[in-house]
Subunit: 345 residues, 2 copies
């Protein structure tokens, strides 16, 4: 039997432990797994592009546990009442090849993306940062805000979205949680005075959400939205002034902001910073960019945290996914009756 | 909501329509899809190898429907009561990126592999073949036998396996279905006089199940077992005497019997034969080899057939896999309660 966490199960689990606990726990698990980066069998995700979006599979293994996520990205979906990004994920036992956990991951992806961003910012953002600008207040934005408050104590937000309704929703959700929020009238106004800038927009296009003159020295950019070929958010001149930190270079070179730069442009792998093998922020004036595209390891960690957390609870059901004949060499026994069935074709 | 076919649902479906109907329907759907081969976005599968086995993801899309299969291969599994191969699969809507069907595929993979073999043999085997040798009588064998009888009328089998128990199981399952079966004492005895030879063994090794002198002219080889790097079944000299037909060359060059040959060795893509664009069998003396490794398209077709066949039945349930907030831009609404939950960490 395989554990199955559906959407109601995920919501009940989060209602029980709370979003802050979940994000902190997922961030700690991601950091733990980033620190053992060399143990993982890593591949760039496998993408199937269409004119309206992309469907991706993101597999990874540490030799004991295998995991993968199915995720789509369809910027036009909200226009017809659907989510831009939906996802589900699976864990499996490497020794047997049998799946062990199957879970909704639309919500869990929002949590792990936010947890990853905040974990990276903890290593890269200026010390004593108090204010974060957020460009793009779509489905991911609330999770980012909560993650940055949980891990870095950021309580002051300056937000901007070209979609006024998206800002309405964000303020309605976040004001009751005690955030101080400035609703800016432009991206430039949003970023003014912020030590951390999160860009999280969804257009599948080369966009310039931030231009060069908008970004002063001493800031940390948490660039999430540039995450597939042909989809970027930052003026390349910002990147050239910055130190760039990435998840898995072979994937980020294709999908991240750095697809705008030469393939040789120097970047630092985040895992090396987390292990203390590479420098993170080295000066107050430095611009740091976390060019985040989302990597399979983060999903693996989130699923691993979920799986441990739901042990002994009723937040999952068990589903009969794997055919299990009494004699493992006799799969046919399970359908022998059907061999003599004679329904007219 | 996503349709979910679990193992009991799959068994009830097959019990209702019968194995022969299912195999014939899957074979027809696979052939239909092979004939529109250029419409598909094809990639070699993504494999994660360990010392004891492999876990693979096999995605494909025709621009309207996307599908993938998760499948493992663990030759040591039966020794501890587990299946060598287990699988599950998913269909999704390319326009929205939303998954639509999730199904067990351990049983369905056995059906589609057998359907593919028989469909290929219908195009490649000598006319009026009456006898098939089967080397390897594991979990896949019964399905192959039924598929070859359903599509080609083959009722006479000559079988061999190094595992006497596996042969016992095969005979126990197949004799009641009216097959004439010779239990051979060696692979050489099994193949003597057979016009079709199916090899389907599971060792993850370069093996030589058939040596050159065992294979005369005028036979069709249905080579299934050589299906990952380092795993082959045929003497390379047989391949050099034969005309070789494959599914997707970039995958077969790495995984199939032809990994023993130079990368330039000529092969014919099966879909071209099925479309009438390339010759299949051209003489009675010719040796034809279907070097089958299993391709994502076959799983796609099997899932597509299943999905259509279960319409309006109770062979599936609906599961709540995709988070679906009333306002698509407000995913957070689904977990807003959890933002104020304060469970001690």
């Amino acid at each position: 039997m395989v554990r199955f966490v559906d959407v109601p199960g995920m919501r009940r689990w989060l209602g029980e432990i709370g979003l802050e606990t979940a994000i902190a726990g997922i961030a700690a698990t991601i950091e733990e797994d980033f620190r053992r980066w060399p143990e993982f069998d890593k591949t760039a995700r496998v993408a199937s592009h269409s004119e309206v979006g992309v469907i991706e599979l993101m597999p990874i293994s540490d030799g004991r546990t295998y995991g993968f996520k199915y995720v789509n990205g369809h910027p036009g979906n909200p226009g017809r009442g659907l989510q831009t990004v939906t996802a589900f994920g699976v864990l499996a036992d490497v020794a047997s090849g049998y799946p062990t956990l199957w879970s909704e991951m639309t919500i869990l992806t929002a949590l792990r993306t936010a947890a990853t961003s905040a974990m990276a910012a903890r290593a890269l953002a200026p010390e004593n940062a108090t204010t974060m600008a957020m460009i793009g207040t779509g489905s991911q934005a609330e999770f980012q805000a909560i993650a940055f408050r949980t891990l870095l104590g950021i309580n002051s937000l300056r937000v901007w979205d070209t979609d006024a309704e998206a800002m309405d929703v964000f303020l309605r959700n976040m004001l009751p949680l005690g955030f101080e929020i400035v609703r800016a009238r432009s991206a430039a106004e949003a970023v003014a005075g912020a030590e951390i800038i999160t860009t999280c927009t969804a257009d599948k296009a080369y966009a310039t959400i931030l231009t060069d003159e908008m970004v002063g020295s001493g800031v940390h950019l948490n660039a999430i939205g540039g995450d597939c070929p042909g989809k970027t958010e930052l003026d390349a001149r910002i990147l050239r002034r910055a130190d760039i930190f990435v998840e898995f270079p072979p994937q980020t070179r294709i999908e991240g902001e750095i697809q705008q730069l030469s393939p040789e442009h120097p970047v630092t792998e985040l895992w090396r910073v987390l292990r203390g093998d590479a420098a993170g922020r080295t000066s107050a004036e430095q611009i740091t960019v976390f060019d985040s595209v989302g990597f399979a390891l983060e999903d693996f960690s989130a699923l691993r945290y979920l799986d441990a957390s739901i042990d002994g609870t009723d937040f999952y059901t068990e589903v009969d996914l794997i055919a299990d004949p009494a004699d493992p060499k006799d799969l046919f026994a399970l359908v022998a009756d059907a061999a003599t069935a004679r329904t007219p074709v």
